[in-house]
Amino acid sequence: MREFLRRWQGVLLAAIGVVATLWLAATNRLGFYIHPRYFLFTVIMAVIAVVFVVAAFAVIPVLRRRATDAAGDGSDGHDHGDHDHDHDDHHGHDHDHHGHDAAAAGPAASARRRLGTVAGIAIVAGTAVALLVLPPATLTTATAENRELNAAAVGPDSAAPDLVGGDTSSFTVKDWALILRQNPDPADFADPISVTGFVLPSPDDEDVFYVARFTVTCCAVDAQPVGVPVHLPGWQDRFAADDWVTAEGRLDVDPAGGPSPVLVPETVEPTGQPEQPYVF
């Protein structure tokens, strides 16, 4: 088993990773995990890796056979199917990373080896479950609460959008968060606005929740929540944290007296999670 693992662990993990990646790309969900600028590169490298993985199945069993042949142990039963028999075979000229282990015999060494094998199997199994069995997911409010809201509303491509004459209907949660960060005068916003995001309770004011999104610069690890505050007393009765909602209404002076305007909604409707839940 150890021998099998040593030879195939990398190929198996690569296969799992590649299948997961290509499936996410095909079902349009790669964006749950990484920034769109990496999509093309990721898919190209995954395709190259698939070629190597399939080729490995063709090449490695033959290589092994030759190695055993060369060591004078070339009975025909040794194909890649019965990997369990060759723990202590000498692999001729073969790559033997662990040759030193064979010398260090003894119960401690063999226990360590067994532990290594178990860990190796656990890594492959765990990776397969995480990448192939669990359904793809986006981050939840558990992470949003752990990270500073609207800290990331600065960035190279996030200069405050132009309000004057701008078409605010295409503004994202991130755009509005950026604008609100500058504590503008609510009188500038005549038209009602509409934002879609998940419900993130405000830590300071129980009448307020944020319509929030995660913004991602590289991958989900660096996701930062951005959000537009919505003033709606009693919102807890209608929504729970993490529910996706669309809020429509006007920006107005914060009834609680904060410096930044808040959204005073006319309607807040539940909605489904959008295809691309993050903003970039």
Partner: protein, 351 residues
């Protein structure tokens, strides 16, 4: 690769190869069907926190995997196509000058840090010393065009962040290279597994001379596939473990605690270095991420983040552990951390 490369392929092995291809395709399809038919309800039993930890770990894997593949392919290319003495003949002979040149390799090979580990292993098998390969490993993520352009986009010339990042990266990488070049027996810095690989590569070179360069194309292709299997067997388990730890720690460590100390000259540096260590973000884009802290943190802290992060973080340590002993990595981490902190504190104090 035992039989002479010129030997005609035996029909038996051709058949077996065709069968192998079939098995390979079947295995990939099997994994795909697991993915397709996995019930969507799995995972609903997990709490949000655990869910997010897994999501974060997966995102590190999906992000890093293509870079590891790219690094592996480049490493294979270096070993198969670069003549053994190519580097040795062209690099300067003076050790410090040589390391200075090696630290600029990243300009030609703008791979992210996780791809640099397999590449550094390939370069070591092609004659680079341990100290030199460490210099490459630490310098390349910072001294490469992608990182520099992105850092410029994020910060411009503001507060000397870009300049100090480049200078700091160069100095720290060369300092490490110099320290480890003085080790009496550099092979002992390497894991036994990688030592064996090195010894094997040296044997092969002695046995075949320049045979690599003249081997027939099919033989080279087979060798490339075998190297891919070997290299991924070393790298991917480390990547998976590193990503899992990185995901778990994100959930365990509250980020608010880290960012609460932004204006303190000393603690801000420590906090952002800790964040860099924990978050294991790719060096090509970490400047965008750091920009989010630009308004609340002192420039020295940002610089320490941008110098320390690409060199050392959880994921990188897991990957480097495939090649270097734990003891070596503790020493490297300590020196890099102290040097990065010194640069950050210096900028906070004097700039």
């Amino acid at each position: 690769m035992t039989s002479p490369v010129s030997a005609p392929a035996r029909p038996a092995s051709t058949t077996r190869r065709t069968v192998g291809f079939g098995v390979g395709v079947a295995a990939v399809l099997l994994l795909l069907s697991v993915r397709l038919f996995a019930p969507a309800e799995t995972g609903e039993a997990l709490s949000d926190g655990v869910r997010d930890g897994i999501t974060l770990a997966i995102s590190v894997v999906i992000e890093s995997l293509p870079f590891v593949f790219l690094g592996t392919v480049l490493s294979i290319a270096v070993q198969l196509f670069l003549p053994a003495d190519f580097l040795m003949r062209r690099l300067p002979r003076t050790p410090w000058l040589r390391r200075a040149v090696v630290s600029l390799f990243g300009v030609l090979l703008p791979v992210c840090e996780c791809g640099n580990v397999p590449l550094a292993r390939g370069l070591m098998l092609r004659g680079l010393s341990v100290g030199e390969s460490m210099t490459f490993l630490l310098a390349a993520p910072i001294l490469n065009p992608v990182t520099i352009v992105v850092t410029y986009q994020a910060f411009g010339w503001e507060d000397g962040i870009l300049a100090w990042r480049i200078i700091g990266g160069f100095l720290v990488a060369n300092l490490i290279g110099w320290i480890f070049s003085r080790h009496p027996d550099p092979m002992r810095l390497l894991t036994p597994g990688f030592q064996a690989t090195c010894a094997h590569a040296a044997d092969e070179q002695a046995a075949h001379g320049g045979a690599h360069g003249r081997a027939a194309a099919p033989a080279k292709a087979r060798q490339a596939v075998r190297m891919f299997a070997d290299e991924t067997s070393a790298m991917l388990p480390a990547l998976m473990v590193g990503s899992a730890i990185a995901g778990a720690i994100q959930i365990a460590v509250s980020r608010d605690v880290l960012v609460a100390v932004g204006q303190d000259a000393v603690w801000s540096v420590v906090a952002l270095m800790l964040l860099a260590f924990v978050i294991s973000i790719c060096s090509n884009v970490d400047a965008f991420f750091a920009l989010a802290f630009g308004s609340t943190f002192l420039p020295g802290a940002i610089i320490a983040f941008l110098v320390f992060g690409p060199m050392i973080d959880i994921k990188m340590l897991a990957l480097m552990r495939t090649t270097f002993t734990a003891r070596t990595l503790v020493q490297v981490t300590a020196v890099v951390a102290l040097a990065s902190a010194a640069i950050g504190l210096g900028v906070n104090a004097f700039a």
